[in-house]
């Protein structure tokens, strides 16, 4: 499994999750977990995904997600999961 974390930060609007999920489904990226919260009036969503079967390279996924974010006015980023595990788990 190649776990990665997608974060979406921005103003809440209709269809953010739908748009991101559709993109991931089209590229065979499996969603393992989704959670969301509001921090200082900002919509924060986190998805843990598995990119093992992805039809596109990590770099391309990352760039295209950033582009989708720009289209709907939110900031999307894709990062490998290890950075969070290293920092928060001993």
């Amino acid at each position: 499994m190649n776990k990665a974390v997608i974060t979406v930060v921005g103003k809440d609007t209709v269809g953010i999750i739908a748009k991101v999920c559709t993109y991931l489904a089209n590229n065979k990226v499996n969603i393992l977990d989704i959670s969301q919260t509001i921090v200082q009036d900002y919509f924060n969503m986190m998805m843990i995904v598995d990119t093992n079967e992805s039809v596109k390279e990590f770099k391309t996924l990352s760039e295209e997600l950033i582009q989708i974010g720009e289209e709907i006015g939110v900031v999307i980023s894709l990062q490998r999961e290890e950075i969070f595990n290293m920092m928060h788990r001993i």
């Binding site: 974390v5 959670s35 919260t37 986190m46 490998r80 920092m87 928060h88 788990r89």
Partner: protein, 454 residues
């Protein structure tokens, strides 16, 4: 599984608090690059560097993209050139030719600095060492990315005062050669006592002779993260303060450890060490001075600064040591003046003096760093400042260093502009009284009594 608050915390550190990995530095041994002629040696050096480090910048960028953590610098350190070039370099010109080879190899692979134009002369100088030191002003003014350092003392050997004298003169010459750019050559030179073999930070990085053929060392950063964490414990006692710094240092260092492991794996080069340093930049919110203020000082340099820094440095190490499998290099809080906006402000308003900085260097990593002084400061006075700092390192069994810039044509109260990560620096007051007779004695200061531990 990781939760959303942890993800948000990490990303806020990166996006809002300037968390980054300051440098991935590849150490490359050039001991196998000796040859029969200068051209032969230069060709081998160029070949070895450009082959060993050809993927360094690309791997650094890939890691940045995949983990979302900025890696500010990719650098190279090499074996001290006085050792590599000693056999074939018979003149200053010969050594400068090697410096130009290093410059061109570094530019080919795209790194932003290459360190190791160095000599290790803690007890005495060979003719090659002396020639290299004399060639430093030209080497630094005729290249762009070459950095230089000289180790002039250690706890085990004492201080080589002949070298200290020579370096005072050499720094003045380097300043004069680059007077059009605020004596910028001096920003690329450091003089050390107890220099570590595995330091990833410039200008003092070199690949020591105790090291393997190639090695990856990583320097972490993150003053802004510590500062933000401390904002949440305002008014609390020292126990709470120390715990907060320790936990934050742990988190910062773990990121460095991850980057180091990944870089090492992808480049097929063994992991050396993590340097646990809080390295500031001129950016607002990325400052050691700000941390000291958050701890409770009006300005860095106010009474209490040395104690606050000692505590900060110790907690950074305690948190960082557990986060990494190997630590080394300089490890601690850097207190450069020009690279840190709040330190610049403290120096400009008179809160921070060279003498107070000297006291602070007793308890932090390294030493007098990026200090701009009047251009008409005498060479012997510069040597005197260096000797004081070297004595602190020798007696306290720690690394100390001096990176001082006599800015030609400028006087106390003016400002020198170096640009980029180096920032700008106010020209600081220098004690005007002479140490000529002390510096001109020659010879060396013996090792202190507590170095005899056998």
């Amino acid at each position: 599984m990781i939760n959303i608050h942890e993800v948000i915390e990490t990303n806020e550190m990166i996006q809002k608090e300037n968390l980054d990995v300051r440098t991935i530095t590849m150490g490359i041994s050039l001991l196998d690059c000796t040859g029969n002629s200068l051209k032969d040696v230069c060709d081998r050096i160029y070949e070895k560097i450009t082959t060993s480090a050809k993927d360094l910048v690309k791997v650094g960028k890939d890691i940045e993209l995949q983990y979302g953590i900025p890696i500010v610098n990719k650098r190279i350190s090499v074996t001290p050139i006085a050792l590599v070039g000693g056999g074939v370099c018979k003149s200053i010109d010969d050594f400068v030719t090697i410096a130009k080879t290093l410059d061109s190899a570094a530019k080919t692979v795209g790194v932003n600095f290459i360190g190791g134009y160095s000599a290790l002369v803690t007890k005495g100088m060979t003719p090659a060492d002396e020639l290299l030191i004399r060639s430093i002003p030209r080497a630094l003014s005729e290249t762009d990315v070459v950095c230089s350092s000289v180790n002039v003392g250690s706890t085990k050997t004492g201080i080589n005062m002949d070298a200290v004298k020579l370096i005072g003169e050499m720094i003045k010459e380097a300043a004069e050669l680059t007077k059009d750019t605020d004596s910028s050559a001096c920003t690329k030179f450091v003089v050390f006592c107890n220099a570590p073999d595995d330091n990833p930070f410039m200008a003092g990085a070199f690949h020591g002779v105790t090291e393997a053929d190639k090695i990856i060392n990583v320097g972490v950063s993150g003053p802004g993260v510590v500062k933000t964490a401390l904002e949440s414990v305002r008014g609390e006692n020292f126990e709470v303060l120390c715990e907060t710094i320790k936990k934050t240092a742990f988190k910062i260092t773990r990121v460095g450890q991850l980057v180091a492991q990944e870089a090492s794996r992808r480049l097929g080069v063994p992991f050396g060490i993590i340097d646990l340093s809080l390295a500031p930049t001129p950016a607002v919110g990325d400052s050691i001075g700000e941390i000291l203020e958050e701890i409770g000082l009006e300005y860095a340099g106010a009474p209490g600064t040395t104690a606050a820094l000692a505590m900060l440095n110790d907690q950074v190490k305690k948190g960082g040591v557990m986060a990494s499998s190997f630590v080394g290099g300089l490890s601690g809080a850097f207190i450069p003046v020009s690279e840190d906006q709040r330190m610049i402000d403290a120096a400009a308003c008179g809160a921070l003096t060279i003498e107070k900085l000297e006291a602070m260097t007793c308890v932090c990593s390294v030493g007098l760093d990026m200090i701009a002084i009047p251009g008409d400061t005498k060479a012997t006075t510069i040597s005197g400042i260096i000797a004081d700092e070297m004595a602190l390192g020798m007696v306290n069994q720690k690394t100390t260093a001096v990176r001082i810039i006599p800015v030609i044509g400028k006087k106390e109260g003016d400002s020198a502009e170096f640009g980029g990560l180096l920032g700008y620096a106010p020209i600081m007051h220098v004690n005007p009284y002479s140490c000529d007779d002390f510096i001109n004695r020659g010879g060396r200061i013996p090792a202190p009594i507590h170095s005899f531990k056998n």
